[in-house]
Amino acid sequence: MELQLTNRVRMTRLSGKTRAWFTKPANIILLVFVILLGVLTLYPLLTLLMETVIVHSGREASAVRSLGLAKGDTTWWHFQKLLFTLNDGGAGGIRLSNSWIQFYSPFLNTMAVSLASSFIAILFGGAVAFLITRTNMLFKKFVSAVFVFPYIMPSWTLALFWQTFLKNTNIGTGTSNGIFASMFGIYAPEWLVYGFFPISLVLGLHYAPFAYILIGGILRNMDANLEEAATILKTPRSRIIRKITLPIVMPAILSTFLLTFASSMSAYAVPVFLGSPVRYYMLSTKMKSLMDTYSGQAYIIAGIMIVFGVAILLLNQKLTNSRRSFVTVSGKSSQISQINLRKANKPIAIILVAILLIVAVLPLITFAMESVIIKAGDYSLKNMTMDFWIGQNLTYLDQGDSNGILLSAKIWKALGYSVLLAVVCSLIAGTSGMLVGYGIAKRRGSKLSSAVNSLSFFPYLMPSLAFGAIYLSMSSHVPWLRGFALLAIVGSVKYLPFASRSGVNAMLQLSGEIEEAAIITGVPWFKRMTRIIFPIQKATFLSGYLLPMVSCMRELSLFVLLVPTSNTILTTMLMQYSEKGWAQFGNAINLLIVTVVLLLNYTVNKLTGASIDKGVGG
């Protein structure tokens, strides 16, 4: 009897606890997302792991036939071949062994490029963020507007620009001179045009807006009291930056590092265009060619990339989770002080504007030029035509389309599809990211919270190409997962990290006292979210919508296997044109993508006041 009673008390207590647990919106959000993300990310991961031990049809099956293996069998052969074939009897020793050529050498190149590009992105993006938010530099508006251009352009188009601009008869294929050599007679050395340096630079510039957005957001929003207190205590400026500013932006720097490193690691198109001519290979290029022949080995490469991504993610979490978080938006705040650059203002501003003109504006001008000339390199008027934009019946060109891009039904259809896809992905990812951010911040320190935190970042660490390949094979088993639904889900999952990062950042900056005040007065959760939390951190949350949108608009490798047809979205169409060497249509489409993204950004900006260049800070 007594026992029964205690049991009942225990049960009531337990169910009471459970009920209490479920009354907190943060818990429900986390629970829902842990399940959703578990299925959407762990299932692909398991599939990927399976692929590394299975014999695939085609050349792979032929190659292992002598070992008595057939299609569908399980084997360690892929690992053996890719990682442990360091002496295959050839004369070249280890450096000409299969594993060195196919894995270790491209692996080292990949690490070097990813580190260098992260460094460039953080340094350049961080410096610009600092100048814009914390100094009285001139031309701020121009700089912040133009700075994001390289991110809007599909990354390989910047690579193509670099190549067309600097190529010359001394290097690469050595067949023609680019704009720079023909105009100034200066022949750029090979290291500047092909290989490690330009690949790192192009990727670094492409991803610098990550740094700008993440670091800039924190710099702009940080509580002025911290610095003011130091100033009152007569702390020197340099010490303030070192002891206060830097530690505060550290989490953002680490986030940037993680994002840039993971992106650079799996970037495919840039190394193809800037690496192949000088035989500089990266893991992504090897993965792509292995995917067509020995796909088991390709999946191993994908797996190793994920391992590295996760390692950085864990490091990142260790460094940011150790109680070093800073509430920077409290109930009370004041304007942050701006550093007066004085005499240095003009030189700094002019140098920065010049750099941006070269890396962000010049490519666009070049694209525009190249889209109107018929035979490359000939800039005379008689070689120019608007046909690629507004021509009709261009069969004489034999370049895939018989109408200029503005009159082509194919292009408009693809544009519509791309925009719709970008908007849907941004709505799903952005909203999920905001909710995830809320849940993670509210239940910070709990197991569930850190599980969701990691899971929501995980998709970003999977190389796009492999992520796409896995979803493709998943979709063949799920009848409704086709076409638009498939692309939208993949895009949303892949870009969720952008949104969840801004969500978490926004929530962590927000002092708990603000929501608590509302809770005490009995304001329901939905109202708290829509009337208090969202409005305060509107700009940060909105950047969580904008980044996925922009990224989707210019994404290629993620979608390339999933699009129903190569004409479905603009980027796959563009890549096809770039690869075929149909430069004029390609350049015109590229300009179209940039223009549309800018228009989208402008519209969002006019409607809500947020924009990508204003970034997290608003």
């Binding site: 067949t175 035989r279 995917m291 035979k375 370049q399 493709l472 088993h477 190569s566 690869e579 004029q584």
Partner: protein, 380 residues
């Protein structure tokens, strides 16, 4: 939590319930004797968009003409061969996707047919005009990649023997698409290691140098040529760009091995280019022992086809003059049908076949592992 996860996964797997397998292969088998009218009638009775994948850009033009002719709604997709095979693998389970496929890389095709991704169909009307060996699987046309050089300056690389290309003076002057990025290029290299071609290369070596070839560590003359040839190559990203680049006025002394049909492009300065075999043919010599390589472009019905009759009708159409027209207007494409005349200004298919390396899919599959491992060492 674990239980919850497994429930969800179970639900996903339930959704995976496989739809009924398309019986395209049965339909094709039963249609072997249908004539054009019967085929057309059945095709017109089919519903939905007719979807075609092809790794030739002009497939879309051919499809547009075809659809206009019969009033179909069609969608042509220009994809890379490897992308097509990947997509087919996933479509065959779930249905949907391509109805008809036009594709290169015969080695991969062996498996695609064996795995039941694609079904061969030989239109009754063309049985006599296409040679037996090109019927199974059906070759719609041949495409060739040949040595083409820039004819400007005083250092014109007018080669008459492929061993000239292995000379150190050619270092950096040969442009080729990386064989890792396009399998037909790899297939060509693999074929060179065959008994037939290594013997021919051995003879050609003697003809050029006047002495017997010394193999050193190489297994045969094919391997030696591959190693020395690739050592002199720089790699371009596409055949179109290679053609454009080599045709530039500044590209004197450069030679490439790329698709002949790229010379049709308005962005290529064709006057600056000379096709090695054209010269050879005009002056009655040959480039020893080959002037390039030639490979088939196949046309097949997809196993997942929802419009199998339209697919067959389209294949039949592609084998006619009208169907070949998009390729028939310029050099570098050769119908497998003897009823279609060679393109104006080009050499006939027989001349090209005699002077080019051809694909043997089974040999390529059997030797891929060895030769590809060898080739990548010289791509470093």
């Amino acid at each position: 939590m674990k239980k919850f996860l497994s429930l969800i996964i179970a639900a996903v797997i339930m959704l995976a319930a496989m739809p009924a397998l398309a019986a395209a292969s049965d339909i094709v088998a039963a249609s072997a004797d249908l004539n054009h009218e019967e085929l057309l009638e059945k095709a017109l009775a089919e519903n939905g968009t007719f979807i075609v994948y092809g790794n030739t850009s002009r497939i879309t033009t051919a499809l547009e003409d075809f659809c206009k002719l019969y009033g179909f709604t069609g969608e042509g997709n220009n994809l890379k061969d490897a992308e097509i095979y990947t997509k087919l693998e996933n479509e065959v389970n779930g249905g949907g996707g391509a109805d008809m496929v036009m594709i290169q890389d015969g080695a991969a095709l062996v498996y695609a047919i064996e795995d039941g991704l694609l079904v061969n169909y030989i239109p009754a009307a063309i049985k006599d005009s296409v040679s037996q060996e090109d019927q199974n699987p059906l070759v719609q046309q041949f495409i060739n990649k040949v040595f083409i050089y820039n004819n400007l300056g005083d250092n014109v690389p007018a080669i008459k023997n492929v061993w000239e290309l292995t000379d150190p003076s050619f270092k950096g002057n040969i442009i080729f698409k990386n064989p890792e990025q396009e399998q037909v290029n790899m297939n060509f290299l693999i074929m060179l290691t065959s008994e037939e071609w290594s013997a021919k290369l051995t003879d050609a070596y003697k003809a050029l140098k006047g002495e017997d070839i010394e193999l050193g560590g190489y297994k045969n003359a094919g391997y030696k040529w591959i190693a020395e040839f690739l050592g002199n190559c720089t790699f371009g990203s596409s055949d179109t760009t290679i053609a454009e680049e080599i045709s530039k006025e500044t590209a004197g002394g450069k030679i490439g091995l790329f698709v002949l049909s790229k010379l049709r492009s308005s962005t290529v300065l064709t006057d600056n280019l000379t096709v090695a075999e054209y010269d050879a043919n005009a002056e009655s010599y040959t480039v020893e022992p080959f002037s390039g390589f030639i490979y088939p472009m196949y046309a097949l019905v997809s196993s997942g086809a929802s419009r199998p009759y339209t697919a067959m009708l389209f294949i039949e159409y592609l084998m006619t003059d009208a169907g070949f027209a998009p390729w028939g207007s310029s050099i570098g494409a050769y119908s497998s049908s003897s009823a279609i005349a060679p393109n104006e200004g080009d050499l006939g298919i027989d001349i090209w076949k005699a002077s080019s390396v051809t694909e043997d899919p089974q040999f390529i599959l059997d030797n891929y592992a060895d030769v590809a491992d060898f080739v990548i060492k010289y791509l470093q």
